[in-house]
């Protein structure tokens, strides 16, 4: 054994030794193990996902039954819902916080904080992240940021109420919304979260570049890692822009600067440019990891290599790159120079192309496959089918003249939710189910997983598909009481339908919650590779020990060599040596008589 091998061996042994001896606080609370940090992000984000969902339920109540007392509304204070009837200002806060919490404290930390932390070191073959303590800091910045965001509900004036997009001047001065401290806490919370995201991005980028196992060339990385790597670059470059904007807005609110206040010579449109220059890459941050996860799930389900792996990588890079030059499509009607509308429309049209390429490649992966409909695969398929709808609906709004009509209507809301829920969230459900063994050593219940999937698919579509229609009839966004517009009154039955479907949708999520927690303790024990997959995380025990790999893995091939002629099985681990390099199997010693 070389000295280096001994050194690595020592290090692993030392870790194990340390593993038994470190106090609870160091092992589970202030942990530097990426798998523990992943779990922390997961639990935090799932909690916020529930909070975001409950906020949406309150919104849906008001939309379905405007100004009627909400069941359970009596527990809300007078400042939010006197007599259980939601106030308009509280409704605006609900709208704002639903979006903010879902995007920043649920989806983003699930995809990036949770899956990034769990998968990257395992899939590249590293013992941990490049900077484990920075990783710990990343979680311990995100969590307080989330608490601060929740706390803003309790301050005088309530939580931020200017939309998750926080347009100035509405957001720049409390006199316009009645919200003072709440808006400031919103800004501070997101700034702190920004630091968390940046720390994560630095870690992920360095780890993927420098900690790939021997033989793990760039084009042997699973698409989940590829997508997380590219996403991290987007985070690295986009979050600082948001930070600058948040700080400028905070200064406008608190110390009297006038960046976005026309009264002091400022420019409201500057906020929009800054916000969307961040905001558009942000939406790709929210979808790319989901695409990567979906790829891993679908290839696994179809028992086939990913169709067009190189094209898939190029498409991820293409989406990320083009994502920087389309931000103005959120501002077509903003009053900015119409010429810019034309240029942004053209760039926006083209960003449809790499997304389409990916969709065709997923179909190509299924073609000629041997498709096993496990729960993770079902979620991956849901991702593709729902993303098709969300992506196609985007083409309508990409066309500037059509956007004149549908901008700021429920058509946009439908689009957003098809890509974020139909896309990202289904991929998240699928990913949690798929990698559950690596988290807890057990496997989630298949039957209940499928039941959850079917019911979610049904109710989810019942909630969001009709939103295309009411948007096309002219139903605007963020309306406390649509019935104040006479022409929207005929759409009320549809609002009621959507509301009831939404209640059923969230109720059905209980199945997932129960399955999740039940499976942690009572689930069937899982071996290292219950799904017969190929990437490195499936070569180690479920869950992997501290340090992940007992010996440094050596990689011989890509991660999608399903049904390869080189293997007797329909899968072939990345670390299995090629036939000509394999050691002959040792002869099994016969069992003693009578044993």
């Amino acid at each position: 054994m070389s000295t280096a091998e001994a050194a690595i061996g020592d290090r692993t042994a030392a870790h194990e030794h340390v593993d038994h001896d470190i106090p609870f606080i160091r092992k589970y609370v202030f942990s530097t193990d990426h798998k523990t940090i992943a779990k922390q992000f997961m639990f935090m984000s799932l909690f916020f996902l529930v909070v975001g969902g409950l906020l949406a339920m309150m919104m849906r109540w008001q939309l379905g039954y405007p100004s009627q007392p909400m069941p359970g509304g009596a527990i809300l204070p007078e400042t939010m819902a006197p007599g259980g009837i939601l106030l308009p200002e509280f409704y605006n806060s609900l709208v704002t916080m639903h979006g903010t919490i879902m995007i920043f404290f649920a989806i983003m930390p699930l995809l990036v904080g949770f899956f990034g932390n769990l998968l990257i070191p395992l899939q590249v073959g590293a013992p941990d992240m490049a900077f484990p303590r920075l990783n710990m800091a990343s979680f311990w910045l995100a969590f307080p940021a989330g608490l601060l965001m929740l706390a803003s509900f309790l301050v005088e004036g309530g939580a931020a109420g200017a939309g998750w997009t926080s347009y100035a001047p509405l957001s720049a001065s409390g006199e316009y919304t009645g919200v003072y401290l709440g808006q400031q806490l919103w800004l501070v919370s997101l700034t702190i979260l920004g630091f968390s995201s940046l720390a994560g991005a630095v870690n992920y980028i360095t780890t993927v570049i420098n900690w790939r196992a021997p033989g793990m060339t760039w084009f042997r990385l699973p698409l989940a890692t590829w997508s997380l790597f590219i996403t991290s670059i987007l985070i690295l470059l986009a979050i600082p822009i948001l930070a600058g904007a948040l700080i400028m807005l905070l200064f406008d609110q608190t110390i009297g600067t006038t960046f976005f206040l026309p009264a002091g010579g400022g420019e409201p449109l500057l906020w929009q440019h800054l916000f969307w220059f961040f905001g558009h890459p942000e939406v790709y941050i929210l979808i790319l990891p989901a695409m990567g996860i979906a790829s891993d799930l679908i290839a696994n389900g179809a028992r086939k290599p990913i169709f067009g792996y190189h094209a898939m990588v190029l498409a991820i890079i293409g989406i990320a790159f083009l994502g920087w030059i389309v931000w103005g499509h959120h501002m077509f009607q903003s009053g900015m120079n119409p010429m810019l509308g034309t240029t942004f429309m053209v760039s926006t049209m083209f960003i449809a192309v790499p997304s389409a390429i990916k969709t065709f490649n997923w179909l190509g992966t299924l073609w000629g496959g041997d498709i096993h409909f496990t729960t993770p695969v079902l979620h991956g398929l849901a991702f593709v089918s729902m993303f098709i709808i969300g992506g196609l609906s985007g083409i309508f709004m990409a066309s500037t003249p059509v956007d004149i009509y549908i901008h700021d209507t429920y058509f946009i809301v439908a689009h957003i939710h098809y890509v974020l829920f139909g896309g990202s969230l289904f991929a998240i459900f699928g990913g949690i189910t798929f990698w559950f063994p690596k988290l807890f050593g057990t496997i989630m219940n298949e039957r209940w997983g499928k039941i959850h999937w079917v019911l979610t698919m049904i109710f989810y579509n019942l909630v969001f598909f009709p939103m295309h229609s009411i948007g096309l009839q002219g139903h605007m966004r963020r309306l406390y009481d649509p019935t104040q517009y006479e022409y929207l009154e005929p759409l009320q039955p549809m609002n009621v339908f959507i509301t009831i479907s939404a209640f059923l949708l969230i109720a059905v999520q209980l199945i997932f919650v129960v399955n999740f927690f039940h499976s942690i303790w009572k689930g069937k024990k899982a071996g290292p590779n219950p799904w017969n997959a190929n990437s490195l995380e499936w070569t180690v025990p479920s869950p992997p020990p501290h340090g992940n790999f007992a010996t440094v893995p050596v990689v011989y091939r890509g991660p999608y060599e399903y049904s390869s002629p080189e293997s007797d099985e329909d899968f072939l681990l990345q670390t299995t040596p090629p036939r000509d390099q394999q050691q002959p199997e040792p002869h099994a010693t016969p069992a003693p008589e009578g044993a």
């Binding site: 308009p88 196609l392 003249p401 009509y405």
Partner: protein, 221 residues
């Protein structure tokens, strides 16, 4: 649950709607094709005893074809849209009526030119939440905002433009039928955003004259 648009009542409404329907056709076909293929594959290639998946890594020619195809389609949609956008946004009509629409929390204040027919003079008069126009005659509304961003939305005429404080943004339209239409606010502007409804009344030329005279009289008193 309809993908049809409600009827439009402006000159460029038809153009906008046409682009919408073209996109609807294209995306509709794409939707049924792709989802159809997806469902078909799931059925055709579902796991069966003895089935072996094709060990295929891709097909470069297919990639090129569907990439080029998609790019061509979106390019066409873009090109079709540019003309309409330009007509609606950058080409203000000559010989149009002019009004100033000043949005504030939570109402629309519309200023009319008054007797001298020129906007911005002493004899202008202002109405709350009432936009008046003449059928088959273009009108330019100069949008302003006193406090926060609002958005001037005339769904039936396919008009939408943000009113931004510190800016004056012209938006024009030409109504094709007399009648009363809704004016709405399409940008979150505070707690009263939901009740910023107004009315657009499209008159015949004669009716408009009569209305205008009555208003001028009333304003003079």
């Amino acid at each position: 649950m309809s993908w049809m648009l409600p009827e439009s009542f402006s000159t460029f409404g038809g153009d906008i709607d046409r682009i919408y329907y073209i996109i609807l056709w294209i995306t509709g076909i794409a939707f049924f094709l792709s989802e159809g293929i997806l469902v078909y594959f799931l059925f055709r290639y579902r796991h069966k005893e003895g089935r072996k998946a094709k060990y295929v890594h891709g097909n470069t020619r297919a990639e090129i074809v569907w990439t080029a195809g998609t790019a061509l389609i979106v390019f066409i949609v873009g090109m079709l849209s540019i003309g309409v956008w330009s007509r609606v946004r950058t080409q203000l009509p000559q010989d149009a009526m002019e009004v100033i629409v000043s949005a504030k929390q939570f109402e629309w204040n519309v200023t009319y030119p008054g007797q001298d027919g020129v906007i911005g003079t002493e004899d202008d008069f202002t109405k709350r939440n009432e936009v008046h126009a003449v059928v088959d005659r273009p009108i330019i509304a100069y949008l302003r905002a006193e406090d926060v961003i609002h958005s001037f939305f005339l769904p039936d005429l396919r008009v939408k433009q943000d009113a931004v404080p510190g800016m004056e943004t012209p938006v024009w339209f030409e109504a094709t039928e007399t009648g009363e239409y809704v004016v709405g606010c399409a940008e979150l502007c505070g707690l009263g955003h939901y009740r910023m409804a107004g009315t657009l009344t499209v008159h015949t030329a004669a009716d408009y004259q009569a209305w205008e005279q009555a208003e001028i009289q009333a304003a003079g008193q």
